[in-house]
Symmetry: C2
Subunit: 364 residues, 2 copies
């Protein structure tokens, strides 16, 4: 069976590496001539909107999926006429606009931060008394890794912030005084089977995920599962979905969801019986989902802009290296490493060593 | 860094899948136009003895390795003039002739079955009183998976057996009344670091490995490690090496070694902190070796000639499927599955289920 993937970055690469043992073959559409997933199958080089290449992709693939959430919905509609595409277009159309997304979540009874749509500086000025400071101004569309976001601390920031977002339609969000950032990842198959991963506890810096840690028995696991369960069913979702959450006491508040495998789930490669990548592929090919049972303690460290020498990382017992075969560039995710151990004993030390190595090579 | 591999079968495929996360790229030389590792890198299609292709391989690869032990030593010598080749040619030249191999083992103090070189029916007849019945007649060269082997139960079998081996130079081996067949796998790096895997307990049928099981704390582990340690050093070995052993009481007797990753170590993909494939690559690229710590209980089931439907295998929790993307053909290894669990409790049941599925699809 051939899986078509829109995008040939690291997520597509890890999907392919997980899918080959299942007997799957891969074809990628990506405009970058040297794309890091490309040598795992066939690479169609060209624009995501090129109807000829999209037709070829739909003809050569049995099932199509994507690795990024900004795929125009029309492309999914175009492809779907020939070949099944998962996750469904609805997940994209809801998720691509922060206002639609938040309304959708709230309608499902999933709490979000207070928010308001703003289309002008005047809108923003009017909204602030209700939203309060601090607050975050985000473009409604096309944001990721903290891009298209500005923090507002007081009235004095409004005008500069509005210039920074270049007049784009925005959402102003009240700041959630969170104690922790977590995410829940789950996979749902064509047949409707669902597998939930344990909550991942995530640390960000400069808007980019740095460390993601399997919480194992998080007290909020059940609540988070109930949220993502509702969301999966409301979207008639197929594939792996990630829901980012803020934790305030014993309350969880949804930040946003990503209709794809997610950076905060990379530790599942070593730390779960079945990885998020394999379960995404099992889900879209309608195979039974694999166990998400945790194998010991695990955490993932991202490497941004630079990566320590392999000798150093591989010299740490219990550390697994994942280089993405991408050129180092300021702020670019180019690798990650997962620490996995059977006992909690030296786990914190190991994470510390890994984070120190990451900090020394960081260029974000 | 680019790794060149002679052969593009399932072992090369699993090497590539293990090596990509380490940032390695792959180039394969294999005469089969549709070879199962091929879509993991560049595939040079042609004969292993083609000097033009060998030159290209040596030019494009930084380090060369191989997935089968019948590579002519002259080819290694040819390649080595341009590019390092591991494991070293000595491991091939010793291992390719059963008499040389057994003498080499005995000289190192490693016990073998009684044996004698025979080149004619007369030799065989003369040797039998000393070797005794039952015995196994094996061609000195080019045997694998029980090919080129005939069991001799009495004098009456001699003449037919000699016809079966077609007058090839042979070794006659006394039968070892073994209680168990095990193998030890170890990796040794360019710098001389060694990592040993736990003994694998192996079951064969029709000369082909069926089930390989991580024994974890085998009482013979230390003896086996001492054997392979001696062998690795005597061969000045670099890479992963497998030594097959017979167990009689608390004695171990060497059967043969394989200078490559080995079928009895496939459970290390899920069942060890670092797989035999990753450690082979770490060894030949002179990286620190990874921990061989066992992750729970694991065993591998081979699928010969046929493979159960993926739905059935993936429906078993704790089972990991490895299809090799090879066409089914009588007697051909086309897939394996690994059962891995955290507790011993249902492990035997799981293996039984897996073996029953394998038996139902078997065509060997």
């Amino acid at each position: 069976m051939v899986i078509g993937i829109l995008g040939a970055g690291q997520l597509a690469r890890m999907l392919a590496l997980a899918g080959k043992p299942l007997g799957l073959k891969f074809i990628f559409l990506d405009p970058t001539p040297i794309a890091c997933a490309a040598d795992n199958g066939k690479h169609l080089i060209g624009d995501y909107t090129d109807p000829k290449l999209l037709t070829q992709l739909a003809e050569e693939a049995d099932i199509i999926t994507y690795e990024f959430e900004n795929v125009p919905v029309e492309i999914i509609d175009f492809l779907s006429e020939k070949t099944p595409v998962y996750p469904p277009a609805k997940a994209l159309s809801v998720g691509q606009d922060r206002i639609t997304e938040k309304n959708f979540l709230q309608d499902l009874g999933i709490a979000t931060a207070p928010f308001k749509a703003v289309s002008s500086l005047e809108d923003l000025q009017q909204a602030m008394p209700e939203i309060g400071y601090p607050a975050i101004l985000k473009t409604r569309r096309l944001g990721y890794d903290g891009k298209g976001q500005v923090v507002l601390k007081s009235e004095n920031d409004l005008s500069n912030a509005w210039q920074a977002v270049k007049n784009a339609p925005c959402v102003i969000e009240g700041f959630v005084p969170f104690e922790r950032e977590v995410s829940i990842i789950a996979s749902r198959s064509v047949s409707g089977e669902i597998a939930y991963y344990p909550l991942s506890e995530n640390s960000h810096d400069k808007g980019i995920l740095r460390l993601a840690k399997n919480t194992r028995n998080d007290p909020l696991q059940q609540k988070a599962e109930a949220y993502i369960d509702t969301l999966l069913k409301a979207l008639d979702y197929v594939g792996t979905l990630a829901l980012e959450l803020f934790v305030v006491g014993d309350t969880i508040i949804a930040n946003e969801f990503a209709p794809r495998v997610h950076n905060s789930g990379h530790w599942t490669i070593e730390g779960s019986e079945t990885s998020q990548f394999e379960n995404h592929l099992r889900a879209i090919t309608d195979m039974p989902l694999g166990s998400t049972h945790s194998i010991g303690y695990s955490a993932m460290q991202n490497f941004i802009g630079g990566v320590p020498a392999s000798e150093k990382l591989l010299a740490l017992a219990h550390v697994h290296l994942h280089l993405y075969d991408k050129t180092a560039r300021k702020g670019r995710k180019i690798a990650h490493a997962t620490a996995r151990t059977d006992s909690a004993e030296n786990f914190a030390d190991l994470i510390k060593q890994l984070s120190e190595l990451a900090a020394a090579s960081d260029d974000s």
